[in-house]
């Protein structure tokens, strides 16, 4: 057994005086209790949003894509904007669980479960947009690689849009597997303490008969590590491929080589903001402040200011290169972005994404929960505008002034977007009620190194001189 030690300079990740059993109790409590009134209100609100979304989509499918505001010049509008926005949000979950696992960041344990759930739901929402954007949605299966009815004619594997099909579906599948493999042991925990037969049976099914033998855990850890190793480049690849949708083209404002890493940075940025929005609510409603601590919030705010600044560097790089390139079309594209009729969207993007996160340089604000909550929403508004700017304001001033155009969404477009919020929050409310929102086994794993009460007991180790400590450790092995 390895020594459970962590430096006292690190903040504890679990507050309060917790034992293993207490951890189980705290996290399982929301599942075993009747949901609160707040939960019901939220849930039914989400369901009604979802129904409105279903109606909006029905309207569009029935009448055709013409009911949307998009036109010949601006062929991609809210639909693709929302698609990219949701996919971007879907990135933080896998980032938290995979990259932070590889980087051995212990604080991921408090937030990864909810973040991964968010990923899956966000990707579900994202997937709706390109599908219904196709117009004749009943032919959507043409994207699948099979020789279709017109002879052995295949989809175009050279098309960035088809890459998207593969990327998004792979991302969804792998995220789901990663998430579920972590859930299996926690379902077993709920199963073994279930009081009602129904719960025992359902969680028995969901837990796959997990009992937690040493060998199973050994394989489980190997699986988590490899899935993390696979998911890390996968996260990068997904938004990279989304960026290829634009960057492989020759449209000024779209064709730029920085797009892949800059989209990824932006995705992480918006994903973390969404995690903040959700977790600040979850920790409050389910009284999980001791597991999702201020330390967690502060760290995520640091990621937000970092990625926000990276995105800022990318914006400025793009702008600079448009001038530096000497290509008048590039220069015009940026002129129309910043000074054209859509100027407000560019400045909304700049102020929400680059300027406002700079507040997080101040420790006081990083640890201020209401401020963080507001900021997390501001950031996601900004990231929505980023996609809007990239898509709409690169299209609306065509090469031919005769086809210059302007675009506003119609109600079915807005309804569709609201509907995905309904879908997202319906799923999230169900998740929060029936699933452990914090990874129980993983919290227990770090409890004795990072739990507040255990850290206090490490004082004698901290007192020891380093030489003595090194000497002891050498002989312990």
């Amino acid at each position: 057994m390895h020594l459970k030690y962590e430096s006292s300079t690190r903040e504890p990740l679990v507050e309060g005086n917790k034992t293993y059993h207490q951890v189980t109790e705290d996290i399982c409590k929301p599942i075993e209790q009747k949901p609160s009134r707040l939960w019901y209100i939220g849930f039914f609100f989400s369901i009604s949003l979802l129904l409105f979304g279903v109606f909006s989509v029905f309207w569009e499918v029935y009448w055709g894509i013409g009911v949307w505001g998009i036109n010949r010049t601006i062929g991609w509008g809210w639909d693709i904007t929302n698609f990219v926005w949701w996919v971007g949000i879907g990135h933080a979950g896998t980032l938290i669980s995979a990259i932070l696992l590889l980087f051995r960041q212990g604080w991921r344990t408090g937030v990864n479960r909810a973040a991964e759930a968010m990923t899956i739901f966000a990707v579900m929402c994202a997937g709706q947009f390109p599908i219904f954007h196709m117009g004749r949605v009943w032919d959507a299966f043409y994207v699948l690689p099979y020789p279709n009815s017109r002879g052995p004619l295949w989809p175009n594997f050279n098309s960035a849009l088809l890459w998207d099909v593969f990327a998004i579906s792979t991302y969804f599948t792998v995220s789901l597997l990663f998430w579920y493999s972590g859930l299996v042991p926690d379902f077993a925990t709920i199963r073994d303490r279930a009081k009602t037969n129904l719960r025992k049976r359902l969680y028995g099914l969901a837990s796959f008969g997990w009992t937690g033998t040493a060998k199973n855990w050994q394989r489980h850890e190997a699986l988590s590590l490899v899935l993390a190793g696979l998911s890390t480049p996968l996260v990068l690849s997904v938004h990279t491929i989304v960026s290829f949708d634009f960057a492989t083209s020759v449209i000024p404002g779209w064709h730029t080589t920085i797009f892949p890493p800059y989209f990824v940075a932006g995705a992480i940025f918006s994903g973390f903001a969404m995690v903040q929005t959700l977790l600040i609510m979850v920790r409050k409603i389910f009284k999980l402040e001791e597991y999702i601590t201020l330390a967690h919030i502060e760290r995520m705010n640091k990621v937000i200011v970092l990625t926000g600044s990276i995105v800022g560097v990318a914006y400025l790089t793009e702008l600079f290169m448009a001038w530096y390139s000497g290509v008048e079309y590039e220069q015009a594209a940026f002129k129309w972005r910043i000074l054209g009729p859509y100027w407000w969207s560019y400045w909304a993007m700049m102020s929400c994404n680059v300027i406002s996160p700079q507040f997080f340089w101040f420790k006081k604000l990083r640890r201020n929960v209401p401020f963080t909550f507001i900021m997390s929403i501001v950031v996601n508004i900004g990231m929505w505008f980023e996609r809007f700017v990239i898509i709409v304001t690169s299209l609306y001033r065509d090469y031919i002034p005769g086809s210059w155009s302007y675009y506003s969404p119609t109600w079915p477009e807005v309804g569709f977007y609201l509907g995905t919020f309904g879908l997202f929050f319906t799923c999230f409310f169900l998740f929060a009620k029936y699933f452990p929102v914090i990874a129980i086994a993983e919290i227990k794993f770090i409890l004795k190194t990072s739990g507040n009460n255990y850290k206090e007991k490490m004082a004698p180790i901290e007192e020891k001189s380093v030489e003595e400590f090194a000497h002891e450790m050498e002989h312990a092995h």
Binding site: S7, S8, S249, P261, V313, A470
Partner: protein
């Protein structure tokens, strides 16, 4: 903990011999190339100096970057051998200084028939595109950016080391300096964003092909120099370990460095591919000229070697866990990676000025050897000056029990 590194005569002699090789190559180059009437030879004299000085300056700043990044992320794993990047970073002034001298000499003193074969923008001579870039690409701007960049990097190189040394003397359990270090690290990242992640590679490297542009270029340069910087750190750690120093470093720490080499080789490939594929796919002539000469022209052998050395080899050799924990494979791969990214910079810089007449001959190898010698000499001096292990770093005990 106090642990001293004594420069072995062998190391000193090797480094001095390499420096001698470099000086001989430089002197011979001076007579043979600089004074020759062949324009290609004259250009070769300078571009090789630029290639090596820029490469080593960027590799050195990678050490400062990893110090800043791990300080901010509270990384415990690197504390065991933190003095190595600190010592490399403390020599920023030297390699940055050489780069400044070489770059400014090229801008101000090198011209053939009234134009500058390396930085064409120095004398645009009515070239409409270069005239258009004049607000950025001009000697004053270049000088200002270059000098300020190197000055800032050198300052932070000294600063991180100074804080770390001060921590050694601070009373036990005091964390004030530790958190101060984090603040300095955050500040450095801002500087880094505005230099290495944007302007510096534009000016030092991309402006060699002054017509061409790519928004990703700086991030790509960062990836290339960062992974070679980590490889340099790896080489030093393994060397010190072999000398019987760095007792608290074990395979767990080597494993982590190996992971960095692996992961950032993949990251480099990702950026390489993103830049290449987007230009290949869109097929706009202004952009594809860059890859035309490299991929299908006289540089194709280097283009493919670059890809094989920097991607295929690391991914195949470093993927397995045992190979990241084996001192021989990691040393071998670290050397390969340093060479591979040196080659990467070679293929970025040579085609513009030299065209088809590139060489990888006595002069290139000699100057590279000289820089390696100087790197070994300078860094070993810095390492020997102070204890090899930090004393009061709050994460020191964590690093001792570190599990990869």
């Amino acid at each position: 903990m106090n642990e001293r590194f004594e420069i072995s005569p062998r190391l000193r002699n090797t480094s001095l011999a390499l420096i001698a090789v470099g000086i001989i190559a430089l002197v011979a180059g001076l007579f043979n190339l600089k004074l020759s009437h062949d324009h290609v030879d004259q250009t070769r004299f300078w571009i090789v100096l630029l290639h090596n000085s820029v490469f080593f300056a960027m590799v050195t700043v990678a050490s400062i970057f990893i110090l800043a990044a791990t300080s901010l992320a509270q990384g415990g794993w690197i504390v065991a051998y933190r003095r190595v990047p600190e010592a490399i970073g403390a020599n920023m002034w030297l390699f940055g200084g050489i780069a400044v001298v070489v770059l400014l000499s090229i801008v101000y003193f090198f011209q053939i028939d009234g134009h500058n074969p390396i930085f064409h923008w120095v004398h645009p001579d009515g070239d409409a595109i270069l005239e258009g870039k004049k607000a950025f690409l001009n000697p004053t701007m270049f000088t200002a950016f270059t000098v300020i960049t190197v000055a800032l990097w050198s300052y932070f190189g000294f600063k991180f080391r100074a804080i770390s040394l001060a921590q050694d003397l601070a009373p036990k359990g005091k964390t004030k300096l530790y958190f101060y270090n984090m603040k300095v690290a955050a500040l450095f990242l801002v500087v880094f964003c505005l230099t290495m992640m944007s302007t510096t590679p534009w000016l030092w490297v991309m402006s060699i092909d002054a017509h061409w542009y790519s928004t990703l270029f700086s991030w790509y340069n960062f990836a290339s120099s960062f992974v070679s910087g980590m490889a340099m750190i790896m080489l030093w750690v393994v060397y010190l370990k072999n000398q019987g120093n760095l007792k608290i470093v074990n395979k767990e720490h080597i494993h982590d460095l190996g992971k960095f080499l692996f992961a950032f080789s993949v990251f480099w490939t990702y950026l390489w591919f993103s830049q290449f594929m987007l230009i290949w796919y869109a097929n706009i002539p202004e952009e594809t000229t860059y890859f035309k000469v490299r991929m299908q022209g006289p540089y194709s052998i280097i283009f493919y070697a670059n890809f094989i050395i920097n991607f295929i080899m690391p991914i195949l050799i470093l993927m397995a866990r045992p190979s990241k924990r084996n001192y021989f494979t990691v040393t071998f791969m670290a050397m390969i990676i340093v060479f591979g990214h040196w080659l990467d910079f070679f293929q970025m810089e040579m085609p513009g000025p030299l065209g088809a007449h590139w060489h990888l001959g006595w002069y290139e190898i000699g100057i590279f050897a000289g820089f390696i010698g100087l790197f070994i000499f300078a860094v070993s001096k810095s390492l020997a000056k102070h204890s090899l292990v930090t004393s009061n770093n709050p994460l020191l005990k964590e690093t001792i029990i570190h599990q990869s």
